[in-house]
């Protein structure tokens, strides 16, 4: 729903489902000897990582831009450019955008309210590792019931099928990268980095579309655009 300041905000239910599907896509099996609650099927480490994955789900133009970065770094995977084109040539960037705040470590939004329904219903458990003065790391445990719900989502709620696809794409894109590295990736975009703390990160749709046209018009892949040193 559209907030008073004109910034669109998702409903609690949308947030909960989106995060469930994102955690389901991103969860990895618990490490051997790791202490996990009963019925745990997968673990997601760090809140920062979860926040950054969520940023790309909620901002399809940034995702498209990152896909093009990947395409420039790996020109032999034309699917990357196709995916970027599918996003940018539709109205997706406007229709699916839920702006996030710029915070100290990047895009951020309080997750507790959105995760509460999942915890209450026995789909998710979370814990935190404490340091001397503050929380060092948040850990999210996907429970068996949570995975069942996530897997039945396409059939039960077709309107939410888009999130199933998109969370998988985002996780696939950044698979194997840590949250801090993700943040650095997002900082590569000037509009994001220039956004003052505590303000909503604005769209880069036109910028991304312009770059798409350049890449499509280029004689061969990898001719222009920024290269991601960390991805190479």
């Amino acid at each position: 729903m559209v907030g008073s300041a004109g910034v669109r905000r998702a409903t609690r239910w949308q947030d909960s489902v989106r995060l469930l599907l994102l955690i389901d896509a991103a969860a990895k099996p618990a490490a051997e000897g790791e202490s996990v609650p009963p019925a745990t099927v997968g673990v997601v480490h760090t809140q920062v990582r979860l926040q950054k994955l969520d940023f790309w789900v909620r901002n399809p133009d940034y995702l498209a831009y990152e896909l093009m970065n990947e395409y420039v770094a790996a020109p032999d995977v034309p699917r990357l450019l196709e995916l970027a084109a599918e996003i940018l040539e539709s109205e997706e960037s406007d229709l699916r955008r839920f702006p996030m705040l710029r915070y100290k470590y990047g895009a951020f939004e309080e997750l507790d309210d959105a995760l509460a329904p999942l915890v209450e219903r026995g789909l998710l458990r979370k814990t935190q590792v404490l340091g001397r003065e503050r929380v060092v790391e948040h850990i999210y445990f996907l429970l068996e019931r949570g995975r069942q719900v996530a897997q039945s989502m396409v059939a039960e709620a077709p309107a939410l099928a888009w999130y199933v696809e998109r969370t998988r794409l985002v996780v696939d894109l950044v698979d194997g990268l840590g949250g801090t590295q993700l943040k650095d990736r997002q900082y590569l975009l000037r509009d994001y980095a220039d956004t003052p703390w505590g303000q909503h990160i604005g769209p880069i749709t036109e910028q991304a579309r312009e770059r798409l046209r350049e890449l499509q018009a280029a004689p061969g892949p990898g001719a222009t655009g920024d290269t991601d040193q960390e991805a190479s």
């Binding site: 729903m1 559209v2 669109r8 998702a10 409903t11 239910w13 949308q14 909960s16 489902v17 109205e91 406007d94 229709l95 699916r96 995760l115 509460a116 329904p117 999942l118 915890v119 209450e120 219903r121 026995g122 789909l123 458990r125 019931r145 719900v149 039945s152 989502m153 039960e156 709620a157 077709p158 309107a159 939410l160």
Partner: protein, 668 residues
Amino acid sequence: MTAPGPARSDAKDLTVAPSASDILKEVAEKLGLTPVQVERTLAEANITLKSPTAADRRLRIIRLRASGTKHSGDDFTVEQPFTPGVWAIVHPDNSAGKTSLLEFLVFPLRGGPRDLPPDVRSWLRHLSVDIAVAGRAIRIVLDVDDQPHPQLRGRILAGESTDHLLAADDEALRLLATASGNEEVSRCIGEFFLDAMRMEHTNLWQVTGGADGEGAPQVHGWASYFGACYLNPGGDEILLGDVAGGLPGRLMELFVDIPYSTALTQLSVAGKREKKTITQGQRRAEGDAEARRTEREAWQTEIADVTRQIEARRRTAAQDISPLLRAADQAATELRGMRALLEEAEQTLTEVSGARMRAEQGLLDARETWQARRVLGRLDPVCCPRCEEPLGSVRRSEEREQANCAVCTRPLPEVDPETAEALLAELEQTLERAQDAEREATDRRLRAVEAVQSALADHREAAAGLEQGLATSQAHDRLRDLEIRAAELRGRLEATGSTPPAPPVPVSAQVLAATEEAVRAAVDAAAKQLFPAMNEAIVELATRFGVQNLDSVKLDRAGKVNAVKAGVKTTFKRLSRGDRLRMRIATVIALLRVSADRGVATHPGLLLIDSVAAEEVTEVPARTLIAELQAIAAELPELQVVLTTAQPELVDALPKDHLITSDGEHLF
């Protein structure tokens, strides 16, 4: 002055000639001037018109005396008296001095020798000739002073009478003139004879003369006239005198004394000089006119070109540009209006699109929320989301039985699928309206874009039209320049339009021409009477002298005899050498006879002939010539002939005292 010649004629012809005042009056009337003005104008050209009066031009030799020293050192002395009649200098030897003796006469009379051998001349120390000229007793004395170098000195002396002259020494005579040096002596003698015989220098117009090659008068003096007395050798091709051209005829006229003949010659020469001046002036004027004509042609060409340009520019410049300005303004206004409409349409479209997007988002959010709620809502709470501790059975049963939340115990909100469907339907309708509005706004924007493009095209067209119109209006300035240039050229053409009139013939030239015409008429009238008589006399005399088969001659004023021999026209040059001499003698004697018949002034009556009959192959014709001369001398008591011959037999009929000869090797 009276004409002292023998009054054998009634002098009728003399009165026929108009007087000088008659001629002046005639010319004055013709030109609208007064006779005095005419006379003054002629005087400015050094021409004086005198009524004809007969001048005494008789010249007779009375005595010749010569002395000197030969190359051999021997002195010689000649003293020979002369009387009228035929005299012969005779000696069979070629180098006996016949020609030299004749030249002793020629030297003082002509002012210089003609054929005197240089060696004989160097011997001469003293020449003295007593003559009767125009009735006056005159002695001409030439002395050659040896020291410091040979120098000719001449004196002209006058005696009371012939007898006085013969008796008196030089000192007893009246000295008229003296001169030193060849040229001065020659000039002095010439002036004396011309003055004594009332003759003038003759100017003959030489066509190619002058520094500019366009003609100039040539002066002929006494020496030239003397050619009428001292006949040319038989081989010469000129009738009389030693100058070709007009001189022979002039000599004849002079000695026949045709009235006004001198004036006519002077007028003719002056007229030609005037004509030359006028011709040169005209040529300059023609040159100027030609230059101006070329200039005018260039102007004509330019004015035609300028006129064409003016016409072309007038046609295009007729267009008024104010409608173009209005059209361009209107098009600009229209374009601005259309652009404002487009901006508005785009603004509207942006707003409507935003609204539509928000409707889409709203529907999407509602649908997702509803389905998420349906999926998650079905799940019963199993623990507290805060503490994650399991819920007790009491809370579960309360929830089932009293619809109180098992977690927070507040009443559970109704989750009514029908309500949700109704809400979604409403959002769908909102979206549909937003989509309609967006389509409409899109169409409106499209129409606005088209309108802007159309207005832009109209504006460009109007601007181009205006630009062209403005370019044409700049042509106004050029048109004005062209019109000014055309006016300037027309002015120039008008100012130079009429070719300048030829410079007026000056009055002096008119007077000269008219006077020449009048005088020529008088001369022609006199010549018309004179020449037939001359021709008749020449034919008779020439035949008597031995010219065979001479049918006729027709003497003209150029001195040509135009002989017809045996029916064939024969030029003087084609005559035999002997016939040429006979014709010369016949001409001179005819002059004498005709003049004497008319009682006018005449040939001096002295005839010097060197080597007469030298060309004759046989003796008979030569004898005939001399015999006839002797006979004529008897008829004409004024005639005195001195001839030379190497053939004594030719002159044996002459009186012995008229033979100048010697038994020795030399005549002197």
